[in-house]
């Protein structure tokens, strides 16, 4: 199976739904959403020590995505055959003819799977796991609050990532609002491919926006991510017009944007955003915009395999250090602080 195209993902239905009253949601209103991980001691997703909540479902299909379990908007079973003991407990547990163990060997018929989780519960070897869990915003915040003291000593907080947090705008807003009410610093990581209203609705409860800029050429963007970049660039401009601290992030991926010219083009766009912000604020205060270049890494092969997805980036090599240095140099033309990890 290849990566599902954007058109057949549930996100299209969700996409049409405009966020309603998220910005005035009462803090305690119970609302649930789908997440696939809560990572404590997250140190690369904003200032200080953070907890990152990964929301499931994304509006892009970047072929190198290192969180493929975050792409679809529904729970899915991950299967790692090398862990399987072939004990057959999952076959007994599965009520949907998804798990097989016979003379032909062990197989997982994903097309029958409804991701009910029965096989996952029965699997002692943890060869079967479930990506995607529905949780209430309160439960998520309760988990996040376990590390409150670490946020206090480090100036950290909570980051919503994914997937794409703005695809579950009410859920995201509720987590962020409750976190803010607890006094936490809040951040979101967005791919930007969402209606402006969805993003805007989160801003009131977000202290920092981290947004991907992958390509300024829309056709190349489409080829790499499954969608053009018009909406993303428009949203970036909208964000520039606010006073919200912004960190743009560019995953440097071979063949996608790993030349000085391509990074230079993004730099020019960032420069435009800085000007926009200066105009909108009459030059008052710092722009509070920075940019990070993140070299592609090839660590997601097992995840793709476990999801029955093709890993199209499997043969790509991470950009070497000297190349990253050249690209960082090109990025400096943006006039903002650039950091290469």
């Amino acid at each position: 199976m290849t990566i599902p195209s954007i058109d057949d993902s549930i996100f299209v239905q969700r996409f049409a739904r405009q966020p309603s009253i998220v910005s005035i949601l009462p803090v305690k209103m119970t609302i649930s959403g789908l997440i696939f991980d809560i990572q404590r001691f997250s140190v690369h997703d904003g200032p200080g020590i953070r907890t990152t909540v990964f929301l499931k479902g994304c509006s892009l299909r970047c072929f190198w995505c290192h969180n493929p379990e975050g792409l679809r908007m529904t729970p899915e079973v991950q299967f790692l055959p090398n862990r399987c003991l072939t004990c057959g407990e999952c076959v007994v547990a599965c009520g949907h003819d998804g798990q097989h163990l016979d003379e032909d060997g062990r197989s997982f018929e994903r097309q029958h799977c409804v991701a009910c989780g029965s096989c996952v519960e029965a699997c002692v070897a943890e060869a079967l796991t479930l990506a995607g869990k529905r949780m209430t915003a309160e439960a998520v915040v309760a988990e996040v609050m376990r590390d409150r003291v670490f946020y206090e000593t480090s100036g950290g907080g909570v980051t919503l990532s994914g997937g794409e947090p703005a695809l579950q705008p009410e859920f995201s807003a509720a987590i962020l609002a409750q976190s803010k009410a607890e006094g936490l610093h809040t951040a979101i990581e967005t791919c930007g491919q969402v209606p402006w209203a969805s993003l805007e609705a989160l801003l009131a409860v977000t202290d920092l926006v981290m947004m991907d800029l992958k390509q300024v050429d829309t056709e190349k963007h489409h080829a790499a991510t499954g969608a053009g970049n018009e909406r993303i660039l428009a949203n970036a401009r909208q964000l520039a017009l606010t006073r919200k601290p912004l960190v743009f992030r560019t995953p440097v991926v071979p063949g996608v944007n790993d030349t000085a010219a391509e990074i230079g083009a993004i730099a020019a766009f960032v420069r435009e955003l800085v000007s926009l912000r200066a105009i909108s604020s009459n030059g008052n205060g710092p722009a509070d915009i920075s940019w990070e270049l993140l070299p592609f890494h090839r660590l997601a092969a097992d995840k793709y395999r476990s999801l029955g997805l093709e890993y199209r980036a499997r043969d790509l090599n991470p950009p070497p250090k000297d190349q990253m240095a050249v690209l960082t140099e090109a990025a400096l033309a943006s006039g903002v602080a650039v950091r290469a990890n």
């Binding site: 001691f41 407990e89 002692v124």
Partner: protein, 759 residues
Amino acid sequence: MPTLLVQPTAFTLAARYEALRATKMAHTAEKWQVVGAMNHDDWGLILPPPDDQEIVQAMSGSGVMINDVRLKDIPIERNHPGGGSYGPVAVGRSFRALLDRHPVYVDPASSLAGATMVNFMSYRKQHWNPDLDYSHLHAEQRKYQIHSGIGGAQHFCPDLAIGLELGYGGLLQKIAYYREVNAPEHDGFYAGLADVVMGTQDWIRRHAEAARQMAAAEAQPEVRRNLEEIAEMNDRLATEPPATFREACQWILWYLVTARMYDGSGATGRLDLLLLPYYERDTAAGILSDDDAAFHVACLLLRDTGYIQLGGPDAAGHDVTNPVSYLILEASHRLKIPANVGVCVGDSTDPGLLKRGVEIMFEDRLGNPKFLGVDRTTEGFARNGYPLELSRQRAYSGCHWLALPGTEYTLNDIVKINLAAVFEVALSEMLSESTHPSIAELWERFAAHLRRAVEVTAEGIDFHLKHMGDVFPELVLDLLCYGPIERGLDASAGGVDYYNMCVDASALATVADSFAACAHWVEGERRLTAHGLTAHGLTAHGLTWAQLKGYLESDWAGDDGERARLLMKKAPRYGHGGTIADDYAARIAQLFTELVKEKPTPAGFNMIPGLFSWASMIAMGKEIGATPNGRHAGGPISHGPNPDPGFRKDGAPTALAVAVAAVQPGYGNTGPLQMDMDPGLGRDAEGIEKVAALIRAHFALGGTQINLNVMDKRTILEAHKDPSKYPDLVVRVTGFSAYFASLSPEFRQIVVDRIVSEG
């Protein structure tokens, strides 16, 4: 000149550091060859000359059997038919005889002379006097696998300030004075003390003479001058107290190496406070640069891996961090060998020292320094009924422990109850006796047995305190305590003012996870919704007590057993946060704390609970059968208060830090957090700050100590495969640090498992 010495390429400080380190590696390589694996502190010990070596099996100062090398033909005075040497007179004479035969060690690259080559304890044929019988305790000590501490030496902290003020001549006068005051009582004790001092003085004089001879034969003027200085300095120090910074380092070194040789003591305490007056005087006089000061300290650290506290409060609560604190940290950084330097972290401590400590941790990747939650240990100790002013003076001076320098006797780190053994007794008793076993009943039985284990431990402590002074008195540490000389009493026998006896629990995670696995899979609600038995006879959602009994007895034999084991392992784990296992860990720690604090020992001595296994995880697991947490029979128990590796998939350091903070007993003794981190985290100032924040947060939550390693998974895996490729790789094993290549394969595996799952 001693063998294996590496000469510096030039007589610059940089080249001398290089040469000292190279010599250290040569000594270490020789130890690997002669001694084999060493699952303990490096000690800074070097081997005797090859033609004077004999290899023995002996009890180390930490109370475990080790392969040891000793000098041949030492005339030990044996005054018991069984061949033992007991009491201050015989022990003092024997130690003096050892000192008289102990080779000198002068390395021209170093600014200080002296080194330990042997453990005096390794000459004790039968350490405990068999006439002092405690067989009435044996059965229960074995049943609960109690490390009783009976016969345990050192593990408390002298006050070096006494010696720095008096010098060896002054100490000898003090002994003579009180010998007369108390005469004729305790005469043997004074004779023993005097023998130790006179033996040390002669040993120092021999070093002065050796240095003088080496100087005479030395062609290079600056090397010759260094040797002459060593000779002059030690001529004086044989009797006089030190006058300069360098002399103070040399005096401390003499004391530490004799204490180390005598019974393994590495308790140094607050070295930054002790050296400060000398530093201030010498720098004001223009005779000491910071680089020279750091070098002298490095020469001291090279020869003894003593436990050192940097910073922390004075009696009034003001942080004492000073330039010497930074110099000591810097010295360990420049030296780059195993070291046990602890940085105090508290509300009022200098944040710069913490920052520098974390920077060094990430730059050197040698598990140095460690971090001390000084506010928590201070408040905790006060809960025993002591004023805060006294509490604040308790100094970090051993693997996981603190002691009041010169005034407190503790048996720290050598009295331990193996919770896994207590649990095993409770579980097997229930499974064989009970018709309706249940988690509630298991808990009750566990609590009852733990109560008994604490009582048996307390009885053992009393027995030790009653007799230790007559068996093997602390003739070196007594010299620098307040009371033993004055009263004529050994520190173990009423010589000092405070007796706070350490009682540690080990295997917390093993037992918490075992309780949780039973609660979750054997009688949890999940089982009620079970799909029923499968072809394998194992329910898809749990197992019965009878099945569990069978699997444990067979050590999870067969395919079914392995599935059952994995099922039990899949239960919620201590450390994940918010699980039933986290609850059990907290309950067990609380129960243990309450039982230890419930009453003093029968003789009235205060006990203080802690959570620690030292490096005994393998030994303590050997006799324990399979446990319900999926552990195989004979496998290692869990490490200190730490969750078992794999406690959650992301191994989040914050989860680990929260978990370990939540189980602290809270009476001033520690439950150190052992943490392993990926080097990438500290690659920039922001990362360093995040690690510092993590450390502060653990202490804010109640944590007491942090042992940290920075190590990437690939390096440790490669080093495990072929340790000889990484001879200078140092890991903080637990409270102590050691060369990775010095550890036994099974011990290395424990370190590797931890780093691979957490780092």
